[in-house]
């Protein structure tokens, strides 16, 4: 027990400093609030950043511009325009311009977003609603050179007159024409007639409108073409319904037509265009006048005059203006030597804008093209060919995903790899043309809002039994890529000498599921056919170009059907016979030599590698640091000598426990231990006594390394005790009740606990521990079935495993019955031999008195008394006498030699300091004097001291 230099009876009573209740300090509150506030601010900032509108870098000006148009240039028409002008533009710093045209059925509003994007890049952008659309006046002339194209020329004039627009020459603005579909054809035609245009980017547009609406895949021209009735109807319907604000869908055609020029059948279409549509739509055949009108409304005639570098963008999922239209445009412009570039992306009139990666590529190409040819910055984009191939489905967006490829040049016939020839076979087959054209096969659903997914899968394709002939290949020996227009030679016979057939190339997977890539079909109108298939001569059918990969083991299937919902087929019933060309039953599949475009997502891969490497490195570092620290944890021993009560001196390394100035303040400001000091020496059983909440358990928690002290130190065999300190190996503990794995038996718990220490099994002394637990056969039962007392005994046994040099037991007799308590006392006394020591905490005075050799009394976080039990607890010289006559007794006692002090206590009591006089002598003296003695109670010093110190206030420190 603690070294108190004073000899003799050395009860030490220390003053109690009454601790104040500490409110959490400002700093503590701040410390707790700041991290949450920072996290909240971060999240809020992120949300705001993502949702906040970005400031515009441009201004917009709406204006109705009246231009003179028409064949003679004398018809005024008001065009609704918007000029997007970058804020950086000024007469001193004029900027290049972009004429941005909208698609059919749209208005200038449809391209406002794109216009804003271009303006952000420093271009002035002029958008306008074309004649016959939106608030603009005039009529739809279908990109007529006399009307829409002339309008655009007048807009160029207007741009040239704006001081903020850069000029190449007087009246010649630096300008590009950009547009999709209707706007794309306009840009091509404008560049064909007006050399002032410096670059064009036509998208998903046509080459020859007659060919587009009246395709004929065997090459016999639009006069023989098969009318694309669904698309034409949709196109015409959009024009007829074109409303003031471009809100086509919501308002009926009739209400619109009442507000604008035109009649009910034609809407805002010009009379000649309307007449041409009515002509072809009612007969399914086009008159030469109609074909002439459509061809006039096409870029084809003027392509040879284009000098503006052209970036052609065509969509693969486009049954209206298929890739072949773009290809024709490309060849015609390239023939003049004008720089031209082509891109085929996975979208179009059926597929929309395509996947994000394609949109990114198109955006990049467009900006690159305009920057180089209009702004004059950036390197020459070259004249190559880029395209996407649908490579699967994105699991996040549930849309197609694509891989981009680039080729140095658009493939010319003869150049590049030889086309693959895939043999197909099948007997001549009879197919029925249904009367009235129904039921009809379905290849595509024009203008449907179905995602590009459906069209790319060809999921909509339906063949009608009896109305189609199939010619199938063997399973493909290798994966086959197609880039371009497949061709096949077929023969047909018809009793009417004429047949309209739809030729399609299917991809058939090994489970016989079939896919019609992009829902594309090639219509042919064959005339002069024999009635017998033997007499038929083969024709070459050029299928719509596709970019597609046929996987290994899939088959190709050429399907020839007699009807298609999207086209006008003859109404008369007939039975055709279809066969392959006897000599060459083969499909020719062209392809292109190309390289994959580096995937921008590859950056993510690098990032992943980086993140993984970083984590691995951090883990490795942490492990290494831990190992080094562990190796360095050759523990510092405080080389200090401790004076013992008997005057001898001992090294700290030989003292089981020294607690010095220990203070523990919890995070919320609560002071559980104010400041305590005590020492446990070998061979001692020290009791830590105090009411509940005096700070005993907190002290033990610190002692076991479960919490860190706020101040002060604990030395175990001279080692500073820190959480996880190795020296804890020499300590066995029961703190705050037992803790076992409930699903295991008592013995398994002990064994696993010992295994957890990593020390050899023989060191554990299981038998001794089991004997101490005294559970008998119950030790093999699961702990969750134990009573509290059984768990307590098992916990004490666990603490004694390995016979640690210092045993720390917190309320060990809790839950034990009296015989077990007595047994426990014996065990603990026996334990503290062979240089071992025991520290027992208790709130029971009697227990400490009977078990311990030394005692430390704690109250409100302070040590109030400290010494050997016999000194602290042992009899004091004071006794209380209950007598019959207090006054007389007082007289007797005062007269007795050796009696120091006599104090009345209550009606019959006297508290007497006997100062060594035996109580028996005092009683004899009293009795002799005739005073009856009822009771003599020796007062014990500890109790006195304890009660005096506690002052009847035995509330826990937690209630202070």
């Amino acid at each position: 027990m603690s070294g108190h230099p004073r000899a003799g009876r050395s009860l030490v009573i220390m003053p109690v400093r009454l601790p104040r209740i500490r409110k959490p300090s400002r700093a503590t509150v701040l410390r707790r609030l700041v991290p949450s506030a920072v996290a909240l601010a971060l999240v809020a900032g992120l949300v705001a950043w993502a949702l906040a509108p970005k400031p515009r870098s441009y201004t917009t000006t709406d204006a109705m511009l009246t231009v003179l148009t028409g064949p003679r240039g004398d018809e005024p028409v008001a065009l609704d325009t918007t000029l997007f002008l970058p804020k950086s533009a000024s007469p001193a710093h004029p900027v290049p311009a972009i004429l941005l045209a909208h698609g059919f059925g749209g208005t200038k509003q449809s391209v406002a977003t794109d216009a804003g994007n271009f303006a952000d890049r420093g271009y002035a952008v002029l958008t306008w609603s074309a004649q016959g659309f939106g608030r603009s006046g005039g009529q739809i002339h279908l990109d007529s050179p006399d009307y829409e194209v002339r309008d655009a020329q007048r807009l160029l004039d207007w741009l040239a007159s704006q001081p903020e627009i850069q000029l190449d020459a007087t009246g010649d603005p630096r300008v590009a024409a950009v547009g999709g579909s209707y706007g794309g054809a306009l840009s091509l035609m404008l560049a064909g007639v007006d050399p002032r245009v410096d670059a064009i980017v036509p998208m998903i547009t046509w080459h020859d409108l007659a060919d587009a609406f009246l395709p004929e895949a065997s090459g016999s021209g639009p006069s023989n073409g098969v009318f694309k009735k669904q698309w034409a109807g949709l196109f015409f319907g959009q024009g007829a319904a074109a409303s003031l604000d471009g809100q086509v869908a919501d308002e009926s055609a009739s209400t619109i037509t009442s507000t604008v020029d035109g009649d009910a059948s034609c809407g805002r279409f010009a009379v000649d265009v309307c007449a041409a549509y009515l002509d072809v739509a009612s007969t399914g055949r086009a008159s030469p006048a109609t074909i002439a009108l459509l061809q006039r409304s096409s870029p084809a005639p003027t392509l040879s005059r284009i000098t503006a570098p052209t970036l052609l963008i065509q969509g693969q999922a486009d049954s209206l203006f298929p890739l072949s239209e773009g290809e024709a445009n490309y060849r015609a412009i390239a023939a003049t030597g004008t720089p031209v570039r082509m891109d085929w992306f996975a979208g179009g009139h059926d597929g929309g804008n395509g996947p994000q990666r394609d949109q990114d590529r198109l955006h990049y190409l467009t900006i690159q093209w305009l920057d180089h040819y209009v702004k004059g910055s950036g390197k020459d984009p070259g004249t190559g060919f880029t395209y996407s191939r649908v490579s699967g489905f994105d699991s996040q967006t549930r849309r197609v995903s694509t891989t981009g490829f680039s080729s140095d040049a658009f493939p010319d016939t003869g150049a590049g790899p030889a086309p693959a020839q895939i043999a197909i076979s099948g007997p001549p087959q009879e197919i029925f043309n249904p009367p009235g054209g129904t039921p009809a096969a379905i290849s595509t659903l024009p203008g449907s809002t179905a995602s590009v997914l459906a069209t790319a899968l060809g999921g909509a394709a339906v063949e009608i039994p009896g109305q189609h002939a199939d010619f199938v290949s063997q399973p493909l020996p290798a994966t086959t890529d197609v880039v371009g227009a497949p061709t096949v030679r077929i023969r047909a016979a018809s009793p009417t000498s004429e047949a309209v057939l739809f030729v399609k190339l299917y991809d058939v997977d090994p489970n016989a599921g079939s896919t019609l890539p992009f829902g594309l079909a090639a219509p042919v109108r064959l005339t002069g056919l024999p009635s017998s298939i033997q007499d038929a001569t083969p024709v070459t059918v050029t299928l719509p170009p596709i970019v597609y990969r046929f996987e290994q083991r899939h088959r190709l299937r050429i399907t020839v059907s007699s009807s298609d919902q999207a086209y006008a087929a003859p109404n008369a019933p007939a039975v055709y016979t279809v066969a392959l060309d006897a000599g060459s039953g083969a499909v020719t599949l062209p392809t292109v030599a190309s390289q994959p475009i580096p995937d921008p997502d590859v950056l993510w891969r690098y990032l992943l590698v980086l993140v993984a490497a970083f984590i691995a490195l951090a883990l490795l570092t942490a492990l290494l640091v831990a190992r080094v620290r562990r190796r360095r944890r050759t523990v510092e021993v405080v080389a200090e000598q401790l004076a013992l009560p008997d005057g001898s001196v001992r090294s700290l390394a030989d003292v089981p426990l020294v607690v010095r100035g220990l203070r523990k303040e919890y995070g919320d400001g609560f002071v559980a231990v104010e400041s305590i000091d005590f020492t446990v020496h070998r061979g001692q059983v020290v009791g830590l006594l105090g009411p509940n909440g005096a700070g005993k358990t907190t002290s033990l928690r610190v002692l076991m390394g479960m919490t860190r002290p706020t101040r002060g130190e604990i030395l175990v065999f001279g080692h500073h005790l820190r959480p996880g300190a190795d020296v804890l190996r020499r300590v066995g503990a029961l703190v705050e009740g037992p803790g076992f794995l409930p699903h295991l038996s008592g013995v398994d718990n002990l064994r696993l606990y010992w295994r957890s220490t990593g020390r050899p099994a023989p060191e554990a002394h299981f038998e001794q521990a089991a004997a101490i637990a005294g559970l008998g056969s119950a030790i093999d039962r699961k702990v969750k079935k134990y009573s509290h007392g059984m768990k307590q005994r098992l916990a004490i046994a666990q603490a004694m495993l390995g016979l640690p040099e210092l045993l720390v037991l917190d309320e060990p007799t809790d839950g034990l019955d009296p015989p077990q308590i007595a047994e426990m006392r014996r065990i603990l006394r026996d334990y503290a031999t062979d240089g071992r020591a025991v520290l027992v905490s208790s709130h029971l005075l009697a227990e400490v008195e009977q078990t311990c050799t030394h005692v430390v009394v704690m109250h409100k976080g302070n040590v109030v008394a400290n010494g050997p039990v016999e000194e602290v607890v042992g009899d004091s010289p004071i006794a209380r006498f209950d007598v019959s006559d207090v006054a007389m007794a007082r007289g007797v006692l005062t007269g007795l030699a050796g009696v120091r002090e006599v104090t009345p206590d209550g009606g019959t009591g006297l508290v007497v300091d006997l100062d060594g006089t035996p109580r028996a002598d005092v009683v004899a003296a009293l009795v002799h004097a005739g005073v009856a003695v009822d009771r003599v109670v020796p007062r014990r010093r500890l109790e006195d001291a304890f009660l005096a110190l506690v002052g009847g206030d035995t509330r826990a420190s937690g209630e202070r």
């Binding site: 489905f393 699991s395 996040q396 021993v637 928690r701 996880g724 037992p738 295994r755 990593g758």
Partner: protein
């Protein structure tokens, strides 16, 4: 005060405290572990029975787009059945099981009171946490393997060893299909790291095991709900569950890995953050239970 340096004599035959094998033995006997793992075996069998008794009627209105084919083809063969089982359990069941394994690592010891005795052995806190983490990871991996393995074996026994089919991919031979199945399981395991480490972090923060498990699952559900709201735009990309379905990209031909790569980055980052926080917190914590 003078100090000397003395190394504690290592006892003969002493190994490092709290070995992985010991912790595995401590956890293996737990009913919780056994029930969770047992359920992983039983679930595929229940699904199988459901297909047996449910008949083949399919209303075709499962709204998962092209990947609905996994449902349609569930009975096409062993690999298909395993993929289907993975699909239906990956969104919730595995999350709960993983949260269970990680969420009660430390919290259960704290609630039993055995944590303080482990620390008093002494087991260094980092080692205790590390061993518990590895044990939980092994349990989680075992759970996934049991789920997929049982589904594969039961599916093959009932429906045969047939190629993997789906409408978005080319048909895959059983061999390569096994590879994809393994990759899908691996990716799911990776994405589960997020919820796992979150549960782990909660586990060192509370003494209530169910609180840690429930908290992790709750946050996971919250993230899934937010992920459904398109208006959140780019914020959704940062949600921990945003890429949890990306493994279906393995079913297309060729494999779509872009979303998986981002998902892996997301999962690793979240796991690293939560894991670091867990260690940081536990190494400094006052153990008061």
């Amino acid at each position: 005060m003078t100090s000397t340096v003395e190394s504690i004599p290592t006892q003969v035959g002493a190994r490092p405290p709290f070995s992985l094998a010991t912790e595995i033995r401590r956890q293996a006997g737990r009913p919780r572990t056994r029930i969770a793992l047992g359920f992983m075996v039983v679930l595929p069998l229940i699904i199988l029975l459901a297909f047996e008794f449910g008949g083949a009627s399919d209303d075709g209105s499962n709204g998962t787009g092209a990947f609905a084919s996994l449902v349609d083809f569930a009975t096409a063969g062993g690999p298909n059945f395993a993929m289907f089982t993975l699909l239906v359990s990956s969104s919730f069941l595995t999350v709960v099981v993983i949260a269970l394994f990680f969420g009660d690592t430390v919290a259960s010891e704290a609630s039993w009171g055995s944590l303080r005795y482990l620390l008093a052995i002494p087991v260094p806190r980092a080692r205790l946490l590390g061993v518990k983490l590895v044990t939980a990871m092994l349990s989680g991996a075992l759970a996934l393997v049991l789920l997929v393995g049982t589904a594969l074996i039961a599916g093959t026994a009932r429906y045969g060893w047939h190629p993997l089919r789906s409408t978005v991919a080319d048909q895959l031979d059983p061999g390569p299909a096994l590879g994809r199945l393994a990759a899908a399981t691996g990716y799911i395991a990776l994405t589960l790291l997020t919820v796992a480490m979150l549960a782990f972090l909660l586990s060192v923060s509370t003494d209530a095991p169910l609180g840690a498990v429930g908290g992790a699952v709750l946050l996971q559900i919250l993230s899934s709900i937010l992920d459904q709201i398109d208006a959140l735009g780019v914020i959704r990309d940062y949600l921990p569950t945003h890429y949890s379905d990306a493994w279906v990209g393995l079913l297309s031909t060729p494999i779509q890995t872009d979303a998986m790569v981002r998902g892996a980055i997301s999962a690793l980052s979240y796991a690293a953050i939560f894991g670091t926080l867990a260690f940081w917190k536990f190494l400094r914590k006052d153990i008061t239970s």
